[in-house]
């Protein structure tokens, strides 16, 4: 009884927090927990403590849990780790407290790579702080590219990659299951051809955004997907492929391996699998792993690699918004980003961190160069307050990749997306 009373009162004290040192709650997604815990400790000050709260593993669940708290005006949501695509939704609902004045300049100074910086602005305000940045590159077996006579030191196109793989009996790994990463692929293909799913000038208008997927760029993107689906280089599980399914095709028992567009975690993944099942046989085979810039959709037009990562937002209803913003700056500073990159393989959103000695020790120099260049020139997904609907609408009309056709798919998806945005169809 006494114990339960004591426990009760300590819980009350922890919840109340109005007296004494306040505790800021930081909702994190499960990536890189160890380092994030350390960051929370390091960034706690004499004025406040930062407590980590874990969100569910799936992005959808993370989003709904945060949204339900914020829609109810939860004052205990101080800091949150946000997938870049949630930022416009949350900002439009006024759930994020914008960084203003000097703080905004500090969060978004010249050191922040452009692709990452684009994800945190809304209505000309800085609504979150970029913490780490993810991007995709094309991973491949050097021996495979060499056999096909493809010079990977120059920009390559999707056509060339697919042809090279088919000629040599290799495969091309992508993410084409009916889920978010498939939209990531489609978006990058379209942007690589100079187009957009939604017109960037009207995308912030929400329901009134202009749908521009039915364009030459949309058709070019559909042509790439169709070509891969019809090619012998398509992997058997193309229609259900995700980030993990094509990893095993890089160093198969038999066969020349693959070209694979995938996120930055791939390098550390294979490095940790040397001599183990699913990984390279030995150091020498690991040396055969190559990387190059995301392929072009149209020859001669610079590719727009996908952008992912995590931005730190401050809850609009926080009781201690100033402390929370100070903490957000701390957990996204160069030191924090360096720790996340070295310990967890989560790449920085600041150029200076790529240039630091710690990172140069942990990663090959040309890979760091490729990552920072990809993040800097990467293309964001549509910055719409209705992004989750946009994404689902695209998925429903572009899946399965085997049914994609340049003649019909962009048109059908444009019609459907327009109806969805206007509230005239169900998803």
């Amino acid at each position: 009884m006494v114990a339960s009373l004591a426990l009760g009162s300590s819980l009350l004290a922890a919840c109340g927090g109005s007296e004494g040192k306040p505790t800021l709650n930081w909702y994190i997604n499960p990536d890189g927990q160890d380092t994030l815990n350390q960051l929370a400790e390091d960034c706690s000050t004499d004025d406040y403590d930062i407590a980590i709260q874990l969100l569910p593993a799936s992005a959808t669940d993370q989003r709904t849990q945060l949204a339900r708290r914020l829609a109810a005006g939860d004052s205990s949501t101080d800091l949150m780790s946000l997938d870049p695509v949630f930022v416009p939704e949350f900002a439009n609902a006024e759930w994020l407290k914008p960084f203003e004045g000097d703080l905004a300049d500090e969060v978004l100074d010249d050191d922040v790579l452009k692709g990452a910086a684009e994800t945190v602005t809304w209505n000309d305000q800085v609504v979150a702080a970029p913490q780490w940045a993810n991007t995709q590159v094309v991973w491949f077996r050097k021996s495979l590219a060499e056999a096909a006579g493809l010079d990977m030191s120059q920009p390559v196109t999707w056509d060339q990659v697919i042809d090279a793989a088919s000629e040599e009996g290799g495969t091309v790994g992508v993410q084409a299951n009916r889920y978010e990463a498939y939209v990531v692929w489609i978006n990058s293909l379209i942007q690589g051809a100079g187009g957009n799913i939604l017109d960037p000038d009207t995308v912030e208008d929400g329901r009134d955004a202009k749908v521009t997927i039915d364009s030459a760029a949309g058709k070019d993107a559909a042509a790439v997907i169709q070509k891969l689906a019809d090619s012998p280089a398509a992997q058997p599980d193309l229609t259900t492929s995700n980030e993990g399914t094509s990893l095993g095709q890089m160093f198969p028992e038999n066969g020349p391996g693959e070209f694979m567009t995938n996120w930055t975690f791939v390098y550390k993944n294979y490095e940790g699998l040397i001599g183990k099942p699913g990984g390279p046989k030995d150091e020498q085979e690991f040396e055969d792993l190559g990387w190059a810039r995301y392929p072009q959709t149209v020859e001669g037009e610079e590719s727009r690699p996908p952008i992912g990562g995590i931005d730190i937002g401050v809850g609009a209803f926080s009781e201690h918004p100033d402390f929370a913003q100070e903490a957000a700056v701390c957990v996204t500073n160069a030191e924090a980003q360096s720790a996340l990159a070295v310990n967890e393989g989560l790449m920085p959103s600041r150029q200076s961190v790529y240039d630091s000695a710690e990172l140069k020790e942990a990663y090959p120099a040309d890979l760091l160069q490729l990552y920072s260049e990809s993040v800097d020139t990467g293309g964001p997904r549509p910055k719409s307050a209705f992004y989750s609907q946009v994404s689902s609408a695209i998925q429903s009309r572009w899946h399965s990749p085997r049914s994609v056709s340049p003649e019909s798919t962009p048109k059908q998806s444009a019609d459907f997306l327009t109806a969805i945005l206007r509230g005239e169809a169900l998803l």
């Binding site: 439009n92 009916r178 509230g423 169900l426």
Partner: protein, 314 residues
């Protein structure tokens, strides 16, 4: 069971209300006072959300764009009722309801007979039959998902003509089978319980009289037992059908709506919780509510039983 006359039909009530005494009036007034707090609480927790949903359904309203909220009248209902997806999901839901309730009725009746006629180990058998009903639906969903899994499930091993790598959740039909098996397994005991109550109402002396007259077991079942259980069967079917129409958990756990295995509840959930579309989502939940009423109405009509009978009143 001791009364000699069986209530074959609802006894006719005398028309015209009897004149109530002062005492009866006072009692009914007291009754009103006593239930008033409960009614008020019920209104607060059920009527308010329902009216709120009705109100929200008239707006184009997204949680992430609160400023763009706009009154659209009945447009959301028009959108839902003219959308193919709505009717596909309705068909799914009705299909699930009819098939699962049919299986549950037959299996549940067998279980009820077993429980009713059992002479020894009554408690043990009754408890065993009722266990699935005590299990949370989500848990049942996960258990059957594992059972049907092609990597660690046992179902493929038990069915002789299926290969070990048969993927139940890859296609529409097989996914639906898995969902319905879980649903049937979980709720048949509930059906059995309601039917057992009905069986207990069938007068033994009527059965004996039928036996003496030379009726076979089959004739006794169809001519004596089932007609006398009509009210109980209707209640069981009604309860289960309304429950089945709102099926959500098993679909959520087992397929998450993949391969068009979505139900109306799941569609509503996705609009409101995943896509934050409060307007159209509320319209869908109102439509769900209305369709439940229709289902209830149809079942009551089909069985031609009035509910007062089923409650053993009169």
């Amino acid at each position: 069971m001791s009364t000699a006359t069986a209530p074959k039909k609802a006894p006719k009530k005398s028309t015209g209300k009897p004149v109530a005494s002062d005492r009866a009036k006072a009692e009914s007034r007291l009754a009103l006072y006593l239930v008033a707090p409960a009614v008020a609480l019920m209104l607060l927790v059920t009527a308010f959300p329902m009216l709120r949903a009705l109100y929200l359904s008239l707006f184009s309203y997204s949680l992430t764009a609160p400023d763009d909220r706009e009154f659209v009248g009945l447009a959301n209902y028009g959108t839902a009722l003219t959308d193919r997806l709505f009717w596909i999901d309705t068909a799914n839901t009705v299909g699930i309801m009819i098939i699962t309730v049919a299986f549950e009725l037959v299996i549940g009746f067998v279980f009820a007979m077993v429980m009713h006629r059992l002479i020894f180990a009554r408690g043990l058998v009754r408890t065993s039959i009722l266990i699935p009903y005590g299990i949370i639906t989500v848990v049942s969903g996960f258990a059957w998902q594992f059972a049907f899994s092609n990597t660690n499930g046992f179902v493929n091993g038990w069915i002789p003509f299926l290969g070990d790598d048969f993927t139940w959740f890859a296609e529409y039909q097989t996914s639906m089978v898995a969902i319905m098996v879980s649903e049937i397994w979980k709720t048949t005991p509930f059906m059995a319980l309601l039917l057992l109550a009905g069986l207990a109402q069938v007068p033994e002396d009527m059965l004996e009289a039928a036996k003496v007259d030379g009726a076979t077991w089959w004739q006794r079942l169809w001519k004596v037992i089932l007609p006398n259980m009509r009210a109980a069967i209707m209640v069981a079917v009604l309860f289960r059908a309304l429950d089945a129409y709102r099926i959500f958990d098993n679909i959520f756990v087992m397929t998450a709506g993949a391969n068009n295995t979505e139900s109306i509840s799941f569609l509503t959930y996705r609009q409101v919780i995943e896509q934050f579309q409060l307007g159209i989502g509320s319209a869908l939940s109102v439509l769900l509510f209305l369709s439940v009423l229709v289902v209830a109405f149809v079942i009551v009509k089909v069985f031609r039983v009035n509910l007062a009978d089923a409650r053993q009143e009169g």
